[in-house]
Symmetry: C2
Subunit: 452 residues, 2 copies
């Protein structure tokens, strides 16, 4: 439904652009939600994006459109815009959005813009640029609506009426004379108490807060866990520095999920989703592939090492793919489950023993089932009971080992501070290939005199 609406919009805008119907375009754009215009930009090249952005009738709306663009499209477009126009856009943008933009621009352009924008705004932006991108400080906005604790409810309501500059005011934060965060009030609370009450008497003083240096993922966890709409950010002395709202948290959660998913494919860079320069994309993906290429050669060397066994019993080759494949799959399944368990907080280190033995049990059950199936296949196909025994045994071991490795490798990565999501990547599946081959050919060599 929504997709259809977007397609109609795209059709209309393309047609007007082709016809050069500037006035009609202006009128049309004025009626479209900034988020929708930003969405439409995906279908147009940079030149058209520039034309469209300049035609957005209201400068504030244009700034909203620009803020809604994905970070890379935003940076590319920024470099194409007239500098004066870009500066007016940045002036209109929220300070956190400005900081995000400036982070992604070439240094020289970034400095020019910082020098040109209004002092109030550039001070805020420079302060934000001082925080690490992935921390609470890096994603917060400094536009936080805070009032002194000595004010009365009546004064607070008056202040609120003049608070046009703040977006999303749903809570009023209360600070002491040194700007330390001391309390919070909801707008609704303001409406339900006598106007002469002082804020200190009605506020909730136990305010959930985060430090500027907290990791953004942890912030997102807290907001999700406690179902809150915004969380205030304080410095190490408890001074109120900024605010993170739930829409920022949604962006963080989505980005983190994307990162996890891409990392599982061993690719990790979000750029892969929208980069259109093939050489660049290939260069990002190649390191991973070359790592697994080395792994593949190691596996091949092992097979070469066992070639005498293989030459004597050529029917062994028919089960190489299934043994290595199943080991890789089970290991991948297990580590995916563990990775997601860590990410959602379902699993922590205190449970890792329990999880290990559970996965071992599950691995044994699955290994026995698959082992029986493949043993039957082997016996029927090659009419050799011992081949069935070898293949079946190897399958049970390969799957159980893979399940245990899935837990151990993932937990190890987590422990040493490497993102465990890479544990379910091709890299580690290669490790499972190697153990699979070792198990299979060792078992076969052991039973070799029965097989010949």
């Amino acid at each position: 439904m929504h997709e259809q609406k977007m397609q109609v919009l795209q059709g209309t805008v393309s047609k007007l652009l082709r016809r050069g119907a500037t006035n009609n375009l202006k009128k049309a754009l004025g009626k479209i939600h900034p988020a929708d215009i930003a969405h439409l930009f995906r279908y147009f090249d940079l030149k058209d994006q520039k034309k469209l952005l300049v035609l957005v009738p209201d400068m504030e709306q244009a700034a909203d459109v620009f803020s809604e663009l994905e970070s890379d499209s935003q940076a590319k477009l920024a470099e194409q815009l007239e500098k004066d126009f870009l500066i007016s856009l940045v002036e209109m943008m929220a300070d956190d959005d400005s900081a995000e933009l400036i982070r992604s621009l070439p240094e020289e352009l970034a400095e020019d813009i910082l020098a040109a924008i209004h002092d109030d705004h550039s001070d805020d932006v420079e302060q934000l640029l001082g925080y690490d991108e992935d921390t609470a400080g890096g994603i917060m906005s400094t536009d936080v609506f805070a009032l002194g604790q000595d004010l009365t409810v009546k004064q607070a309501i008056e202040a609120l009426q003049d608070s046009e500059d703040y977006e999303m005011v749903f809570y009023v934060y209360v600070v002491d004379e040194h700007n330390h965060l001391v309390g919070v009030l909801s707008l609704r609370q303001l409406l339900t108490v006598p106007p002469a009450t002082s804020l200190a008497d009605v506020m909730t003083s136990d305010v959930l807060r985060v430090r500027t240096d907290m990791d953004q993922e942890e912030v997102a966890e807290l907001v999700a866990k406690y179902n809150i709409l915004a969380i205030p950010v304080v410095d190490e002395h408890g001074k109120l520095m900024g605010l993170i709202t739930v829409d920022d948290v949604i962006d963080v959660m989505r980005d983190e999920a994307t990162e996890d998913i891409l990392r599982m494919a061993g690719t990790s860079e979000e750029e892969l989703l929208y980069g259109y320069k093939s050489f660049h994309v290939a260069r990002l993906r190649l390191p991973w592939l070359l790592t697994t290429l080395v792994g593949g050669v190691v596996t091949g060397t092992l097979m070469w090492y066992f070639k005498a066994t293989l030459e004597q019993v050529i029917m062994l080759i028919s089960f190489i793919p299934v043994i290595t494949g199943m080991g890789g799959n089970v290991g991948g399944q297990t580590s995916t489950i563990i990775v997601r368990g860590f990410a959602t907080g379902r699993i922590d280190f205190s449970m890792i023993r329990q999880v290990f033995f559970k996965e071992l049990r599950v691995g044994l059950i699955m290994g026995t089932t698959c082992g029986l199936v493949i043993a039957a296949v082997a016996m029927i196909w090659h009419q050799n009971i011992y081949l069935g025994l070898v293949v079946g045994l190897a399958m049970v071991m390969a799957i159980s080992v893979a399940a245990c490795m899935g837990v151990l490798v993932t937990a190890f990565f987590k422990k040493v501070g490497i993102d465990p999501a890479i544990a379910s990547s091709p890299f580690v599946q290669t490790v499972n290939d190697i153990t699979g081959i070792l198990i299979y050919f060792s078992t076969a060599t052991l039973f070799l005199h029965h097989l010949i």
Copy 2:
């Protein structure tokens, strides 16, 4: 930081439980946030969970704790509780949380509870149970704060002061006499207009809304895209039926991400994350494994078919793992990128041609690089130029084909309405194994007289 706090809490509660210090436990639990108590429950067995829940001093807090539990733990615990206590809990729970609980209970218990709870509440719950779980109707709450359009701002503020039953009132929805949604107002707007104004004169009449039957994922997309805190839900006649708040949306997004990630490992059932019955978990994971087992046997059959080639040129075996492995990796990378592109809305069908040719180019570049590397390895290792040629050529083809398949298979699944996330699962990687083997041995057979 937060994790440490939770560990301290867990320690305290365990100690008090072991000592049977009921009064101290009551006092301690009374001070802990319901979401934190629910979190603690993960570390205790059902018996202790039951003890703790009963000890939560305030019934409303107990209902909050119970609502915050993961769906499966909730259902298990519900079956252990005294029926009267369970009924009092459900009475206190929000109608959407009650409906979610009742959906996961055994039929008989569900009916008993529905019959026992207060009529007002059970009517709401039964209405919610009528919607599909994954739709807007299935996740909305019926507690929506709505006022008639003829009311004045002063009357609205008075109504708001009596609105304790509604959680998270940040917008006031305005309806006509037939309960059709006609407008919306923020609390802040109420504060900034003269008290005698009628709501119809100040409300925004262009309200973003969703239909009860819209898919929950689409709802989440809209809320994320437009940065809103809540979205009203209407029936096919535009009547206001309920409200979805951003905290529900966060849950949806997290569940969908988990589902996507698990599906990529070919496992799909969220139960895998916390199920502790090994046989049950094994049964959930086995269908996938058995599918790929069949694939592995097919690949093995192909190798068997080419055994004459292999017996003549045994050195070919050293490159089987690397050729099939690289094809699988590239195909997996590509389909992961496409799946995530679809999920985040970066890719749609209108771009699929463009994406296909880009992936083909990227595949050719990566294939050529890996092909050159592996050809050099083959030549140096086995001192055979033709082997290098065969392995290198096969690598270029296997990788390029895998990249194209990654796009086509994923797009195909999406087109026919199967979740494309399974395209990057082991199942499809097996398909890449098969094409890899076919390409490799066909090339080798073609050059066979040079290799011997």
